[in-house]
């Protein structure tokens, strides 16, 4: 089985999707001959022609508006927003249009073919506008699906699933791991399910939930916890909308404790949704308050990124606090 980094796995998924279906199109800023600022679309224009892989003018609301139209027409657009920080000009097209197309038309029309790919997350000295994790803005929007992979294998399987999913999907790619995360990825076509969490590690003392790049940070925290004799159950949510409440609740029934972590700010972050839902379901089983380890309620800073970040030590501290409550 070949070894790929996450960008190669994404590129491979796009290649497979474009080879399989003429209706799949890739476009965005600099995705054409240059292959994207991160090279996720390398060689696709060369292979599939300028009509199917092309640069757009620099206008995010235009990219997504154009993509909505294409998807409504029956094409399968995979639109790239260069950084998740720049998705906001397209917020209206995504929230008011993409998400509501099928519902408002009574299923006369839909944009189910649409996938929006965008790099997200901190840890690259990106400051305010190359670090954001805007997933919670979108999880508040019925009609969208929100998916975040954690490694190359997940990235390929989930992206292929997103492209073929009958609903519009926002696919957040953890850019800190684009080249840092390397692993075995099957060359052939495969899909991973959207809407299903994955238990990465079994444990009996506490449940730790995260997604995307934060899974690597959780891994380090869990190592420290294991050294301290705490058995953690680790869950990668993978899909935030819809999210797999059953898997998390079943785990908390067993462990009685939960830590949720994400890079985005605390207030209004998706951890709040998980916390509320698990509290409703598992009230009589909880042995300590559910802990949220997240970014602070500030814009994402440059110089003090390390201090801002919900790193492994903060997660470890939360695990200890919960177990000792």
């Amino acid at each position: 089985m070949p070894t790929m980094n996450m960008l190669q796995a994404i590129n491979n998924a796009l290649d497979i999707a474009m080879a399989e279906d003429d209706k799949v199109l890739c476009f965005g800023e600099d995705v054409g001959v240059f292959g994207g600022v991160f090279r996720a679309t390398s060689h696709l224009q060369e292979k599939y022609g300028k009509a199917r892989c092309f640069n757009t003018p620099l206008v995010e609301q235009g990219i997504i508006g154009f993509a909505n139209g294409l998807a409504a027409q029956g094409s399968v657009p995979v639109a790239e927003i260069q950084f998740a920080d720049y998705i906001f000009p397209a917020f209206d097209q995504i929230v008011n249009e993409t998400a509501k197309y099928r519902y408002r038309s009574g299923d006369l029309f839909n944009v189910g073919g649409l996938t929006i790919r965008t790099p997200y997350g901190g840890g690259i000295h990106g400051g305010l506008y190359h670090s954001q994790s805007p997933e919670a803005y979108f999880t508040h929007t019925p009609g969208l699906k929100v998916v975040v992979p954690r490694d190359p294998y997940q990235a390929k399987g989930l992206l292929l699933a997103a492209i073929r999913d009958p609903d519009p999907v926002i696919f957040f790619e953890p850019k800190r791991l684009y080249r840092a995360s390397v692993g075995e990825v099957p060359e052939e076509d495969y899909q991973l399910p959207i809407g299903e969490a994955e238990i990465i590690k079994q444990g009996s003392d506490i449940t730790v939930v995260g997604w995307g790049a934060q899974m690597e940070v959780i891994g380090k925290a869990v190592e420290l916890a294991e050294e301290a004799g705490i058995a953690c159950e680790v869950i990668d949510l993978r899909s935030l909308l819809p999210w797999d409440v059953e898997t998390v609740a079943d785990s908390v029934f067993k462990t009685g404790r939960l830590v949720v972590t994400h890079e985005a700010p605390l207030t209004g972050g998706f951890a709040g949704e998980i916390t509320a839902a698990i509290q409703e379901r598992c009230f009589l089983y909880l042995e300590s308050p559910i802990a949220r380890v997240t970014g602070m309620d500030t814009p994402f800073p440059l110089a003090l990124e390390k201090e801002y970040f919900p790193d492994h030590l903060k997660i470890f501290a939360a695990i200890q606090h919960s177990v000792n409550f």
């Binding site: 003018p57 206008v59 609301q61 235009g62 154009f66 094409s75 009574g106 299923d107 019925p142 819809p242």
Partner: protein, 399 residues
């Protein structure tokens, strides 16, 4: 290469002036220098009939809104020639992506009064399943994209749709309608630029009717309307008299040729006037004069087309009277039928959010059903849909 200059000569665009293309004068005569487009008798009568039907539907439904039978309404009044003239110049399978004041396009393509009414009353037969406000029509079989309220969002979508049509190679184009107010949105700029760069078969059709709700055009833009903006995108553009159905038809016909044969996007600015209020929630007497409205009432596009048709001996006083009478009767009968139809099924609350109902939504729906069973009187439509209430009680709830 750009041309060099050694004097600091600033330009404003006032150097260009875009004339208004006209064919028919107010008396229904062809201007001496103009040429009547090749519009056969039956097609001309079809256009006129759609204009008249739209006017009568609008008048009756606005009255129904005033009577409290309808939650909301918007009229196309004064702009029928723009909307229907443009639609008549398209192939019936070309996509139309409209704003919300273009019901005439659907009328021309054969949307029935029943179909209009089902949407307006949000009943069980509404294609949109009663989810959207009135006048947010859509029709897949008539290639008319479902309307949404956010302004200008359909304009870049039209460019994308047309790109897909170009790749499909079946010789179709997309026409998108919008008002001059919507053209101030960023989506307008995004769409024109992308359409021009990617050479897509799309027609951008602006209804410049002088007002965006209460905001007059002079507070909407500083330049000479919308048309000159095309220069910045190197796009073909024409300005037409929007109350002159022959000019609108001919301009759109030629634009369609450019779009479909050469993949050139085209901008059309139709100069017209919103004769009615913005919507049933608006009272124009607060921001414009009766005198101004009166001037435009004399330029009524329906009157102008009728004079021309009569000169061709394609229409008569008797036909006018009979047609108006039968349309009025049909609108009224259809409305009474649509009002009585039951509300959509309760589960239409949760279907079509996604292709399949998600487990989370199913749980919320089950909780709602249990709640309605406890308080059926408080939720008459829901109780009716669950079979908990009789027909009589349902009607009470409707009022």
């Amino acid at each position: 290469m750009t041309q060099a200059t050694y004097q600091p000569a600033f330009m404003t665009g006032d150097e260009f002036s875009i004339p208004t293309f006209s064919v028919l004068n107010h008396d229904g005569d062809i201007y001496p220098d103009a040429q009547s487009p090749d519009l056969p008798r039956d097609k001309a009568r079809h256009i006129y009939h759609a204009m008249l039907a739209t006017r009568i539907l609008d008048e009756r439904m606005m009255a129904a809104q005033r009577q409290g039978r309808l939650s909301f309404y918007m009229q196309c009044t004064g702009e029928e020639a723009s909307v229907i003239g443009a639609t008549a110049a398209l192939d019936d399978a070309d996509m139309i992506m409209a704003q919300y004041r273009e019901q005439g396009a659907l009328m021309y393509r054969g949307f029935s009064f029943d179909e209009f009414m089902n949407q307006l009353f949000g009943n069980q037969l509404d294609y949109g399943k009663g989810r959207q406000m009135p006048v947010h029509y859509g029709s897949r079989k008539l290639h008319y994209m479902t309307i949404s309220s956010p302004l200008a969002t359909q304009i870049p979508q039209a460019a994308g749709y047309a790109y897909g049509q170009k790749l499909a190679g079946e010789g179709h184009c997309t026409l998108t309608f919008f008002g001059e107010g919507a053209a101030s949105e960023g989506d307008f700029h995004a769409a024109l630029n992308m359409a021009s760069v990617h050479e897509v078969p799309v027609i951008f059709f602006c209804r410049n009717n002088g007002y965006a709700i209460s905001t007059p055009a002079v507070e909407q833009f500083a330049a000479d309307g919308i048309a000159p903006r095309a220069f910045g995108y190197r796009m073909h553009v024409i300005r037409v008299d929007g109350n002159d159905v022959l000019a609108v038809y001919e301009a759109t016909r030629l634009a369609r040729e450019m779009a479909v044969k050469d993949n050139k996007p085209v901008l059309i600015e139709a100069m017209t006037y919103r004769l009615a209020a913005h919507s049933s929630s608006d009272d124009p007497s607060g921001y414009r004069s009766k005198d101004e409205e009166e001037i435009w009432r004399l330029k009524d596009p329906i009157l102008r087309m009728r004079k021309w048709l009569e000169q061709q001996n394609w229409w008569s006083e008797d036909e006018e009277t009979d047609t108006q009478e039968s349309l009025r009767r049909e609108v009224l009968d259809t409305m009474k039928r649509a009002e009585k139809r039951p509300s959509p099924e309760l589960d239409t609350l949760i279907t079509d959010v996604y292709a399949e109902v998600t487990p989370a939504l199913q749980r919320q729906y089950d909780a709602l059903k249990a709640h309605i069973r406890c308080y059926p009187d408080a939720y008459p439509k829901g109780a009716q849909a669950l079979g908990l209430k009789g027909d009589q009680q349902h009607k009470t709830g409707e009022q």
